[in-house]
């Protein structure tokens, strides 16, 4: 560290299960380049062992440490203090919205994970399929040797659901992450079942095109683009079905 430590006022959402929430204030000397998750871990280790929060990988591959930082959805593990406040400034830490709070910063991801599972979300894909379709795949020297796979982009962190204004008004809304998963799976293997999960008023058509999901996504999933793309596919499918002979109607089922 080359510069002096900053003084930052942490204001942390605290809530024991079933009790009234309150805001805990703590002033800490921090390295401005410290990650927020490291600061939270330090608060837990040195100041208050009762603080609960979710975390695992500390480098944005697991998606556990989604929080609202000064009102904006962030992965705490890759967000530096410098990027969200200033010396002498405030750092408000809240749990994600649109998920039930279990305690403090810990939210219940259960329903969300089960919805992701229902969409058939595959966490590993061929590298080419894992890229966004509008990204150019690199030119490969030896195609046969370059069939590689990778963990896909969505880390199921829930930031998009927390940021989504539609999710805030409709508890039944399938939500951006799951719709993005449906689009991703449909692109690889189209099925009527996937369309049915998305094509209803709490699905694709609930989205208001606020694009907050894409704005906060830390992983480059671009859920909003995927929702629009899936709408296009659903509409195309409907139009085609008008001209489809009756005998082929169940073709996609």
């Amino acid at each position: 560290m080359t510069e002096q430590p900053w003084q930052v006022h942490f204001k942390i959402y605290r809530q024991r299960s079933g009790q009234k929430p309150y805001i805990q204030t703590l002033t800490l000397a921090v390295d401005p380049d410290e990650y927020i998750l490291d600061a939270i871990e330090r608060i837990w280790a040195n100041h208050d062992r009762t603080l609960t929060y979710r975390h695992a990988c500390h480098h944005s591959t697991c998606g556990a440490c989604g929080m609202r930082v000064n009102g904006c959805e962030k992965l705490a593990c890759i967000t530096t203090i410098r990027s969200v406040t200033q010396n002498g400034g405030n750092l408000r830490i809240d749990p994600l919205r649109n998920f039930p709070v279990v305690s403090d910063l810990v939210v219940d991801m259960g329903d969300f994970f089960l919805r992701m599972n229902k969409s058939g979300f595959d966490s590993v894909a061929l590298s080419e399929a894992a890229c966004l379709p509008y990204e150019k795949p690199k030119i490969l020297m030896d195609q046969a040797e370059q069939v590689t796979e990778r963990l896909v982009d969505c880390i199921e962190c829930g930031l998009c659901i927390s940021a989504c204004p539609a999710a805030n008004t409709d508890k039944e809304y399938v939500g951006p992450a799951v719709l993005a998963s449906i689009q991703f799976m449909y692109a690889q293997n189209p099925s009527q079942e996937l369309i049915d999960q998305a094509d209803h008023h709490s699905g694709l058509w609930r989205c208001h095109s606020a694009y907050e999901c894409t704005q906060v996504c830390p992983s480059g999933v671009d859920p909003a683009w995927r929702i629009m793309d899936m709408r296009k596919k659903v509409l195309t499918d409907r139009i085609k079905s008008i001209f489809r002979p009756r005998s082929q109607e169940k073709k996609n089922a």
């Binding site: 380049d33 410290e34 480098h59 590993v124």
Partner: protein, 394 residues
């Protein structure tokens, strides 16, 4: 032989705890897992994410290398959902690395690790971002995995057999029976701040780098040295394969692709307490240097994150890198005269399943429960189902 279903408490829901929960639950135990934080929120979550082929240890620690390749093959089969498998290269950067190559190649073969010298041209053809000045390249079956999801997949599998997971529960004491033996634990539910007790026939301390601290609550010494290392993640996936430097285990010798990132690691130093380990900026700088030796383009790629993870090295007279990366289970009845408690520690993420198997074997032997391990044979449950309500498998 017990007539009724035996019960076990597992302290710690890292890789070992989750894999052990699955193993014991599948063998018919009533399993209760107690974890202080989130699943995999200690060392396991913060691992580099390398599914070792074992080649990294084939010269210095053959025992660990053999364990790694055996488990590598098993995990690739049972945990596909959590692993990106593209193999890895060991590349020589200087004459010292080249001199190491024959020892490496022989060592790998002796350990049963499929290793193939592939030639510089082919290595650069398939990984164009590699340092163009490499002198030799060997291919091994390395892979990258998603740490949290691997733990969740074991936990989801355990849940299928009825295991109960109590995350955010801090262990504060051990319960003793009339003979001074351990028959359970007392804990605090951190969500509600309420105290809670769990009783079981056997308690397993699977807290890795914290095994010494947890055993200390029972007044029992366990010689574990938390030995952290730094990892640095970059914004861009620069290779498709794991890139290892062809040398003895050293700082910054492994560059791993993971999702859209590249992750370099690591260092090795000892700490007393692994609860909070600051990320040392000088070590991060050193990682930048080492990473750029393997892939020069990383000089211009933005850092995405940096983190510390504390290996649970088993103590002795040696230190750091020279400690074996294999694992140990301790039956505290034979060592300390206290029955009802077993500790498992050491090891690596890659070997978590076999650590669980050996620990479960010991537990079964102690309780006279005759069921064998089946965890190598069946694919793990979908990790999402960690969140499903407990269901007994058919």
């Amino acid at each position: 032989m017990s007539v009724t279903q035996p019960s076990a408490i597992i302290i710690g829901a890292g890789f070992t705890g989750c894999a052990l929960a699955y193993d014991l639950a599948q063998r018919g135990f009533a399993v209760t897992v107690v974890e202080r934080g989130e699943l995999a929120s200690g060392t396991s979550g913060r691992t580099h994410g390398l599914l070792h082929s074992g080649a990294r240890y084939c010269v210095t620690d053959a025992e660990a290398a053999v364990e790694c390749i055996q488990e590598n093959i098993i995990l690739r089969r049972i945990a596909k959902q959590c692993i990106e498998y593209n193999g890895g290269y060991f590349v020589a950067l200087d004459d010292a690395d080249l001199a190491y190559a024959p020892v490496f190649s022989q060592g790998a073969q002796a350990c049963g690790i499929p290793v193939e010298e592939i030639g510089v041209k082919r290595a650069l053809g398939t990984e164009p971002a590699l340092n163009p000045n490499i002198l030799a390249a060997y291919q091994v079956p390395d892979a990258a995995f998603d740490p949290l999801r691997l733990a969740m997949a074991f936990a989801a599998s355990a849940r299928r057999y009825g295991a109960k997971f109590n995350t955010y529960h801090d262990v504060v004491g051990f319960l003793r029976d009339g003979n001074g033996n351990i028959c359970g634990i007392s804990a605090v539910n951190r969500h509600s701040a309420q105290p809670v007790e769990f009783q079981a026939d056997i308690t397993v301390n699977a807290t890795g780098a914290w095994a010494g601290k947890v055993a200390e609550i029972a007044g029992i010494p366990v010689p574990v040295r938390p030995t952290p290392g730094v990892m640095v993640a970059y914004e861009k996936r620069v290779t498709e394969r794991v890139i290892n430097r062809l040398c003895e285990p050293d700082d910054g010798d492994i560059l791993l692709p993971q999702r859209r990132m590249a992750v370099i690691g690591t260092t090795s130093f000892e700490v007393e307490d692994a609860d909070y380990i600051p990320v040392h900026p000088d070590q991060v700088k050193e990682m930048h240097k080492r990473a750029a030796l393997l892939v020069p383009a990383l000089v211009n790629i933005k850092m995405r994150g940096a983190y510390m993870s504390a290996r649970p090295l088993i103590g002795g007279m040696m230190s750091g890198r020279s400690l074996s990366r294999t694992f140990k289970c301790y039956d505290h009845r034979t060592i300390d005269g206290v029955d009802g408690l077993v500790t498992v520690t050491g090891g690596k993420a890659t070997t978590c399943r076999v650590m669980a198997e050996k620990t479960a074997d010991l537990v079964c032997q102690k309780l006279g429960w005759q069921r064998v391990c089946e965890t190598a044979q069946h694919p793990l449950a979908d990790y999402h189902l960690y969140y499903q309500s407990t269901e007994v498998a058919a």
